[in-house]
């Protein structure tokens, strides 16, 4: 599903160069649930952003679904992200001024779909994460766990094949974290969604199919 070959990422600022990723090669199969662990600053988020086409590698190739992505225009990238990828962030990144339902509809806005259809799909996604009774709420009226469930609903509403989750349980207590983890496991099991999750929690990681560890931009293991 995702194939990384010799990925290198260098951050250049005026003062220093940081080698955030060093020659990373990784194959992720369709339907796989992969967790990524490593100490802070080792390059986990950078790796995820590159897989999510939010950032370009300095060197190396990425293939998603057998497609090379390095020649994509901004518009093609946007479309590709819209169809294939769903993101879940540690700090939820919900749009505070939009109601829950509108937040979930967001990815569908950049497709050609009618308002009714959008509502239907968004409601269905919210039902999946068990938040049907909060559609009219604003994000500020939700708990952290509820916010993250809304974020997951938003990530899955467009039925992407891949979900990239950067510390989805990082801001939550263990009970709420487990709830979120259960939702992700469920998604992976029933819809065969490929999931790549960055985590600091060994227990969460142990529930996934495979675990890779990063250390200073290098894959160990």
């Amino acid at each position: 599903m995702i194939r990384l070959q010799n990925i290198e990422k260098v951050y250049r600022t005026s003062a220093i160069e940081t080698l955030a990723l060093n020659s990373i090669s990784l194959d992720i199969a369709k339907g796989e649930f992969l967790s990524v662990m490593g100490p802070s600053g080792c390059g986990k988020s950078t790796l995820l952003n590159i897989m999510g086409l939010l950032d370009a590698p300095t060197k190396g190739d990425i293939k998603i679904d057998e497609q090379r992505t390095d020649h994509f225009s901004d518009k093609q990238l946007a479309q590709f992200r819209n169809r294939k990828l769903g993101f879940v962030f540690q700090s939820y990144h919900l749009i505070n001024d939009l109601k829950v339902l509108d937040n979930v509809e967001l990815p569908l806005l950049y497709r050609t779909s009618s308002g009714n259809e959008r509502k239907k799909l968004a409601s269905a996604a919210l039902e999946k994460v068990g938040l049907s009774n909060r559609v009219k709420h604003f994000p500020s009226q939700l708990s952290g766990g509820q916010k993250q469930r809304v974020a997951i609903a938003r990530a899955i509403v467009g039925r992407p094949e891949i979900i990239l989750a950067d510390e989805p349980t990082g801001n939550l207590d263990s009970a709420m974290g487990s709830e979120i983890m259960d939702i992700l496991l469920q998604l992976n099991a029933t819809d065969n969604t490929t999931i790549i999750m960055v985590t600091h929690d060994e227990y969460m990681a142990s529930k996934t199919h495979r675990l890779v560890r990063l250390f200073d931009g290098v894959l160990v293991q």
């Binding site: 952003n49 999510g52 939010l54 950032d55 901004d74 518009k75 990238l77 946007a78 479309q79 992200r81 819209n82 169809r83 769903g86 993101f87 962030f89 700090s91 990144h93 749009i95 001024d97 939009l98 967001l106 990815p107 806005l109 950049y110 497709r111 938003r154 467009g158």
Partner: protein, 419 residues
């Protein structure tokens, strides 16, 4: 998609009430000023009572004679002699109005000092200009030729000289120690009118200096054409005639003046030529340059509020930094976001524009009701409104494009890190 942009835009504007208010305030205030200025300019240049045929008239209002040996020149209206001998023999005009400059005359009425503005005209003046007579009629060619002492007065003069409700026609008023008989009363002229006066008298041919064969003399003539299409033909005929008018004639002025400049101009051209008397000799009077300069001034005037709005817009975007990152992550292309933002900004400016139009309607009412420009009635008409529309469009685009461009260059990862 556009409907979507629209919905999002309205939602965003409603969410950020403070920004929206500040922006709307700036936009509507700026556009109100633009509209009011445009209304004044429109009032000045477009045809209006009594000069309603302005688009098919040419004005001969300046005669400049120059010396090629030294820098001296005389710049004034053409003489009656020049108009009578040369201009009135032209074939193209349908009618030719001749008028003197207006001069103040002090009269005493019931021992009260009154200053009125007087102009002498020929008979065709009354055909070229469309006066509304509330009483009587204009003086005729016959009356002028006979040297009759007759006048046409404005309503304002009538109410000063005569009792309310009394007919003025046939009565006499005293000007410069002579009695003039009133033949007609016209509706008051706007003070900004190009033919403004309170009292009109015949160009009395008995006046000695009127026949003096000089080129410069302080008159104006208005050539009324059958149609606007005749303007180029008229100008050509005029220029040919003017070229033939001799300068070296001993009788004409002082012979050191060996060059002359005189043109038949449209109203705008004659205005521009007056504006920079002597700068351009061309027949176009430099109208293009004038319009260019005015437009530049206009843009400069808009620049400050535009920069202000650009600033507001940038902070509006920064405020939504992480939102933009999220939208991009979920499939919005830079272009979509840029369009979205520009639409948002255009909607904002048009709402501001609409408020501006409303405000200017009110202000125009107030200006007109205060009547501080004496009979000048400015109005927010179709011209002015289309100008306002154009101004809002320019304003909206100018202030939206740069912030939108900045937004499109935004790094998604950075945007997502922002909280």
């Amino acid at each position: 998609m556009l409907r979507n942009y629209f919905k999002i835009a309205i939602a965003v504007l409603r969410r950020k009430k403070f920004f929206t208010f500040i922006s709307l305030f700036g936009i509507s205030f700026t556009l109100t000023i633009v509209i009011i200025v445009a209304a004044f300019v429109d009032n000045m240049f477009s045809a209006g009572y009594p000069d309603i045929n302005r688009d098919r008239e040419l004005f001969v209002s300046r005669m400049q004679i120059r010396s090629s040996t030294n820098a001296s020149s005389i710049n004034a209206g053409p003489s009656y002699y020049f108009i009578d001998h040369y201009v009135s023999r032209l074939k193209t005009p349908a009618k030719i109005a001749i008028l003197s400059g207006n001069f103040p005359v002090t009269t005493y009425l019931n021992n009260k000092k009154q200053v009125t503005s007087v102009r002498s005209t020929n008979d065709q003046f009354w055909e070229v200009l469309q006066f509304q007579f509330v009483e009587g009629k204009p003086y005729t060619k016959q009356q002028i030729d006979n040297g009759e002492k007759v006048v046409v007065i404005s309503e304002a003069v009538r109410s000063n000289y005569f009792n309310e409700g009394v007919a003025a026609v046939g009565k006499y008023i005293e000007l410069l120690n002579m009695q003039y008989r009133v033949t007609g009363v016209v509706k008051n002229l706007p003070s900004a009118s190009n033919v403004y006066a309170d009292i009109f008298t015949p160009l009395t041919l008995t006046q000695e200096d009127m026949h003096e064969p000089s080129l410069v003399g302080g008159h104006t003539c208005i050539l009324l054409l059958d149609s606007k299409a005749n303007i180029p033909k008229m100008k050509e005929e005029f220029n040919q005639m003017a070229a033939k008018v001799p300068m070296d004639d001993k009788k004409i002025d002082n012979k050191i003046f060996d060059r002359k400049l005189v043109f038949a101009d449209t109203f705008l051209e004659s205005f521009v030529r007056d504006f920079h008397a002597g700068f351009t000799e061309g027949a176009g009077a430099g109208v293009d340059i004038f319009i260019l300069i005015v437009s530049i001034f206009f843009l400069l005037f808009l620049l400050l509020p535009t920069l202000n709005l650009v600033n507001i817009n940038i902070s509006r975007i920064m405020d939504r930094y992480s939102e933009i990152g999220v939208r991009k992550a979920f499939g919005a292309s830079s272009r979509t976001l840029v369009y979205q933002f520009i639409v948002e900004n255009l909607i904002l400016t048009f709402i501001g524009g609409a408020i501006g139009v409303g405000l200017s309607f009110i202000i125009v009412q107030v200006i007109n009701s205060m009547d501080f420009m004496y009979n000048n009635r400015i109005s927010v008409n179709f011209h002015v409104l289309s100008f306002a529309l154009l101004a809002s469009l320019v304003f909206g685009l100018l202030s939206g494009v740069y912030p939108a461009w900045r937004m499109s260059r935004m790094n998604v990862v950075m945007a997502l890190k922002a909280q």
